[in-house]
């Protein structure tokens, strides 16, 4: 019976096919029913399979449906693995997808390309579930590239504009750059283990010693991490994510906050036993994650577009997750994926509700005073804000604090970076809330027409808000008397293949003090941001004027886009032109091909001169020839 797990990814695919092929003719109502219905059905199936997995021996279901590729020593089956890790992720994906599909019914109601939108969104769910459930790396890669494609299509949803397709293209190419690393990592693992089935790889890795220095395994894991930086928007491949906000807001919530961008973290957790064998990679992950968290948070301080602030916030939070993974806290990193999915999806949907109410105005500086007009949006977003700030009792507090604590054990410097980033987070989130909801309306016209969204949009907000609060209680840390249950639950997946399961992470160090510092810092910076912006933008403008240099740099995102354009893209194009015009046209074709041709013609023209048609010339040369022959023979 558990075999019906294949329905979980396939149902959304059916929805996608329906909406893509006949959705336009079938009408918006049919599209909504099929689009939302298939994802809800997928969620219910997932729930059923989840409990079947819970009862299964070793909390693990391995389901094989057939063979995809098989040649020589390479065999890749069509198979799904459901264990605590993929099972939890599958519920998060289908659950949040279902809510966001519902929200989209309201948000996209007026759109011309309604069927196309749901076709892409359903397709995304299919690929995401393939990524999560696939039992081999190539199958995971199917989902990996597939979600990238859907992201491309959905960012470029408004294809008739100039900016949206450009942002989609940028996203796809940054992702592909990461995918390249992913592909190389897969090849290296295949060469090493002789298989690409995840379970088999982990079984072999379980018997290996941690690698000393930079070896094959370190190379492989580093390459896989490059893949993760692409998909999960880390330095140096994060530049696409802020631009990706050109897509419709529900897409930003689902793909660019809750699910797709966390697949890098998911992949590393999936291969945790392999990654933990490579200390160099782990340290790299921790530092890249920490620095990304800080860099993105500082940029988020000054952005004016509400979605851009949230985008940088996502990059920053993803950085935290990697910081956790790199500090050997796979469970902590994944826990943050889990809590973040709730509150960040909520923040984006709330922002969508604001944008919807303000007639597609996204500039925070033209909002203000919306608290009375959009009460549900305000209160639910406030909950999410408290979560992301890390205020005790809200989910983000539990997950983020665990990460900071583990980072401290890894290196106090990493902890300090994380702490500064947390302060920035508290500040920019308070700023966002204050600018949007408090003070006087700065655009009175839009304010007059603002109104709360329909039920299909507010219901998901409320559900997500409840989730955002509750999610944290799954991982109450030991220092507060909890058991950090999430770690125990994920253990069979994170240590799969090990001869004997390792004990949970050892807790030592000044946990209570660290927690106190971070909570105080977050609260302090949150209040600072709140007070600075609650009455409008004047105070902050005075502050910005005091530091014009820093402000310009942050506003322009450290000029990194310009650097990439100037030092990477333009030279590549120039190089392509040189190869074409110099190498192809002049060297190969000119010297290699046309020159012999021309020489032949010249030689022909020259010998043609001899053929004068005058008999006396021929007689002369004949006579000369006879003389030469006579000389040779008679000598």
């Amino acid at each position: 019976m558990q075999k019906i797990a294949w329905l979980i990814p396939i149902l959304p695919l059916i929805g996608s096919a329906f909406n893509g092929l006949i959705g336009k003719k079938a009408g918006k109502k049919a599209v909504s029913i099929v689009g939302v219905g298939t994802v809800v059905a997928s969620f219910l199936t997932a729930l059923w399979v989840f409990f079947a997995m819970k009862d299964a021996p070793g909390h693990r279901l391995d389901l094989i449906y057939g063979t995809w590729m098989a040649t020589g020593s390479l065999t890749v089956p069509f198979g799904l693995t459901i264990d605590p890790l993929s099972g939890t992720m599958m519920l998060v994906v289908t659950g949040i997808s279902a809510l966001i599909h519902l929200y989209s019914v309201g948000y996209m109601a007026e759109e011309e390309g309604y069927a196309r939108y749901f076709c892409y969104l359903n397709l995304f769910v299919f690929f995401m579930l393939t990524l999560v459930l696939g039992n081999s790396l190539p199958l995971l890669f199917v989902g990996w590239e597939g979600v990238g494609l859907c992201s491309y299509l959905l960012i470029g949803y408004a294809f008739e504009t100039e900016t949206a397709p450009a942002a989609g293209l940028k996203a796809f190419l940054f992702n592909r750059t990461g995918d390249m690393g992913m592909a190389i990592g897969m090849m290296a693992l295949f060469a090493l283990f002789g298989t690409l089935t995840i379970g088999d790889i982990l079984n072999q890795a379980g018997h290996m010693q941690a690698e000393v220095g930079f070896g094959v395994l370190t190379f492989a894991t580093l390459m896989l991490f490059v893949g993760a930086t692409g998909k999960s928007a880390q330095i140096p491949l994060y530049l696409w994510l802020p631009d990706a906000m050109a897509g419709p807001t529900p897409v930003s919530a689902l793909i660019h906050a809750a699910t797709m961008v966390t697949s890098g973290i998911y992949m590393i957790c999936r291969l945790a036993p392999v990654f933990s064998l490579t200390p160099i990679t782990m340290t790299t992950i921790a530092w890249v994650g920490g620095l990304t968290a800080l860099l993105a948070a500082t940029i988020g301080l000054v952005q004016r577009d509400i979605k851009k602030v949230l985008a940088y916030s996502t990059v920053s939070q993803l950085g935290y997750m990697f910081l956790g993974l790199g500090s050997a806290g796979f469970a902590a990193g994944f826990f943050h994926v889990f809590t973040h999915a709730w509150f960040k999806a909520l923040l984006f949907l709330g922002a969508g509700s604001v944008i919807h109410a303000m007639h597609h105005e996204q500039d925070l500086f033209r909002m203000g005073g919306l608290k009375e007009k959009l009460p549900i949006t305000f209160w639910t977003m406030l909950i999410a804000t408290l979560c992301i700030m890390g205020i005790p009792g809200f989910s983000g507090f539990f997950s983020k604090d665990e990460i900071l604590y583990l980072a401290f054990l890894k290196s106090p410097a990493l902890w300090a970076i994380g702490l500064v980033a947390a302060c920035c987070t508290a500040f920019y989130m308070a700023r966002l809330m204050a600018l949007a909801f408090l003070g006087e309306p700065r655009d009175s016209h839009a304010y007059e027409h603002a109104h709360e969204a329909p039920m299909t949009m507010t219901l998901p907000l409320v559900v997500l808000a409840v989730g955002a609060v509750v999610a944290g209680f799954w991982g109450i840390p030991k220092v507060l008397g909890g058991t950090f249950a999430v770690e125990h639950w994920l253990e069979p997946a994170l240590t799969y293949g090990h001869a004997e399961a390792e004990a949970g992470s050892v807790h030592e160090g000044p946990a209570m003090m660290l927690m106190g510092i971070s909570v105080a810092a977050a609260a302090g910076f949150g209040l600072f941001g709140w007070s600075l912006y609650k009455n409008g933008t004047e105070k902050s403008e005075r502050l910005a004027a005091k530091f014009p240099g820093a402000h310009t740099i942050l506003l322009n995102k450290y000029f990194l886009d310009e650097l990439v354009e100037g030092y990477l893209l333009r030279p590549t194009r120039w190089f392509g032109n040189v190869l074409w015009k110099l190498f192809d046209v002049i060297i190969i074709d000119g010297i290699g091909v046309n020159l012999p041709g021309a020489l032949t013609r010249v030689a022909g023209d020259f010998t043609a001169l001899l053929q004068t048609g005058r008999v006396r010339n021929y007689v002369l040369s004949m006579g000369l020839g006879v003389l030469v022959l006579l000389y040779i023979f008679l000598k």
Partner: protein, 548 residues
């Protein structure tokens, strides 16, 4: 008649199109519509016959030569030439690709050719004969004859129906290819005189007895001819000119089928006849392949003409095929087999689609377009799906081919394998860069407002005829991506045997796959058939399976 057909199926397949084409050539100009129709029906009929008859073999069977016709033919300077055609795991799908693409191409370009359309279709049919003959011929001189014969109809197709610079392109195409084949002919004759025959098995056995340096020289002569056809960097410069100047049907056939003859030549003849020389030169070949992959992609990136962009992408994609062959692993070679078919389908489809766009807009310049998606949504959908296949997105055919080739190269055991596989991955990224950049410029964005622009000349989306051409291609793209084993399981055993004997130290084992099936004893192949760890299935080739 049916009796004759079942005994001479291959002869029928090879010569029927040419005879049909010659008949159509006799039609007067006024009857062009009828001639076109007859040509299409003829080609479609041939496809159905070939598919129905050839696919009766069990898909997973360990067969080698299944359909074969052998008989003595004539002698050149005392060397017997054999009339020898056969179909086995190595050429089955290439033959089907040819019979599949030909009618589809004719249908797709039904209205594109207006001048002497009947003769045009007839030439395509004659070309089809040449290609089928070359894929099936087992005697080297016979193969050579078909190889050269193909040039003639193609020369006319480009030279008469081509673009503005068709003469230069046609001459270049003809002379480039011919000059490569001449050295090959010399090597062929040299070896044949030594062996006393043109049968590849005996020639291979003879070649193994020659000094290594002579083997290398002979191999290089073979390789030059094949590499020009592929085309392998730096011998590729005929391709962009020929593709851009050729009419759509010419480009489709050229990219879809003709190029494969080069890589097929490596696999069928160069590798088994000169196994030592092949592994000796595997590194340079792989290096040129990797250069072709990256170089082709970089140059494609800066093209302004869509057709030229697709032409350079061919250089890149065929580089993958050659890389797979040079890896000398089962995984890589099977990937190369699949990639040949992939490239035939995807690039053929791209040329067809560009042709459809050109028929409407009369321009192919990227900058003349923009916003085509709003004007032609159905066309855009098809183009995008084919683009995904071309950039190797998983679940389409392109991915499986590239994935197998890269993995096969990585595990090749050659010291350079890992490095080259890693660098070649760059081609996968660059492929997405040039294709999606072009898609963005042409299809997305606001409509090009310029009145003379291509976008403003697009008045109709795809017709039913054009959709009918694209649907089978899209079905194949996903079929090959989801179940590649339907296409490469038949070549598994021949390739295992081929590589096993190529790597075997015992010279007697070496030539086994090249010999005729009767003489390939079971014992000879059984010993330690473990190339790449593949299970050594005994090649059970009994007399019944060989339908003579």
């Amino acid at each position: 008649m049916t009796e004759w057909m079942s005994n001479h199926l291959l002869t029928f397949l090879v010569f029927a199109p040419a005879i049909w084409g010659l008949l159509i050539l006799c039609f007067p100009e006024k009857q062009a519509p009828l001639a076109k129709l007859l040509a299409i029906f003829g080609a479609a009929g041939l496809f159905f016959i070939s598919a129905a008859r050839l696919l009766t073999i069990p898909p997973e069977g360990p067969m080698n030569l299944v359909f074969a016709e052998h008989m003595p033919w004539f002698s050149v300077v005392g060397l017997p030439v054999e009339y020898s055609l056969s179909i086995d795991g190595l050429n089955l799908w290439l033959v089907l690709l040819t019979t599949f693409l030909t009618p589809l191409t004719m249908l797709g370009t039904y209205r594109s050719v207006t001048q002497r359309a009947g003769s045009f279709m007839a030439l395509i049919l004659i070309l089809e004969s040449g290609m089928l003959g070359a894929f099936m011929a087992q005697d080297l001189l016979f193969f050579y004859l078909f190889w050269e014969a193909m040039l003639i109809p193609m020369y006319f197709v480009i030279g008469i129906w081509g673009g503005d610079e068709r003469k230069y392109a046609a001459n270049k195409f003809f002379l480039y290819t011919l000059s490569g084949s001449l050295l090959w002919l010399v090597a062929l004759l040299y070896l044949a005189t030594k062996a006393g025959t043109f049968a590849p098995g005996i020639m291979a056995a003879t070649a193994l007895g020659l000094p290594f340096s002579v083997q290398c020289t002979l191999f290089l002569a073979f390789a030059l001819a094949f590499a020009i056809k592929v085309p392998l960097f730096p011998l590729h410069t005929w391709l962009p000119d020929a593709h851009v100047q050729a009419p759509t049907a010419g480009s489709v056939i050229l990219a879809g089928v003709l190029l494969k003859l080069g890589s097929y030549g490596f696999l069928r003849f160069a590798l088994p006849m000169f196994p030592d020389a092949f592994s000796h030169y595997a590194k340079p070949i792989a290096m040129l392949s990797v250069i072709a992959i990256v170089y082709g992609a970089l140059v494609a990136m800066v093209q302004r003409d869509i057709k030229k962009l697709v032409a350079y992408s061919s250089v890149s994609h065929m580089g993958f095929v050659m890389l797979g062959l040079a890896s000398m692993t089962v995984v890589g070679t099977q990937g190369a087999m699949l990639q040949m078919l992939n490239h035939g389908i995807s690039t053929g489809a791209l040329f067809l689609l560009v042709g459809m766009l050109y028929d409407r807009a009369h321009t192919r310049m990227i900058s003349d377009f923009g916003g085509v998606a709003s004007k032609m949504p159905v066309f855009t959908t098809f183009f995008f799906i084919v683009t995904l296949s071309s950039i190797g997105l998983p679940l389409t055919n392109g991915f499986v081919g590239e994935f197998l080739i890269l993995n096969g190269t990585y595990i090749s055991g050659f010291p350079w394998g890992r490095v080259f596989a890693t660098v070649a991955t760059l081609g996968v990224l660059l492929g997405a860069v040039y294709m999606l950049w072009m898609v963005k410029k042409v299809f997305w964005g606001p409509e090009n407002p310029d009145e003379d622009s291509g976008t403003q000349h697009l008045h109709s989306d795809l017709s039913v005829r054009e959709i009918a051409v694209m649907v089978p291609i899209v079905v194949l793209i996903f079929w090959m991506g989801l179940h590649p084993r339907s296409f490469i399981s038949v070549s598994e055993q021949p390739i295992v045997n081929l590589l096993h004997s190529a790597k075997a130290p015992d010279p007697r084992v070496r030539v086994q796959p090249m010999l005729k099936p009767e003489s390939a004893t079971k014992d000879g192949l059984k010993d330690g058939l473990a190339a790449d760890g593949a299970a050594p299935a005994a090649p059970s080739i009994s007399g019944e399976e060989v339908r003579k």
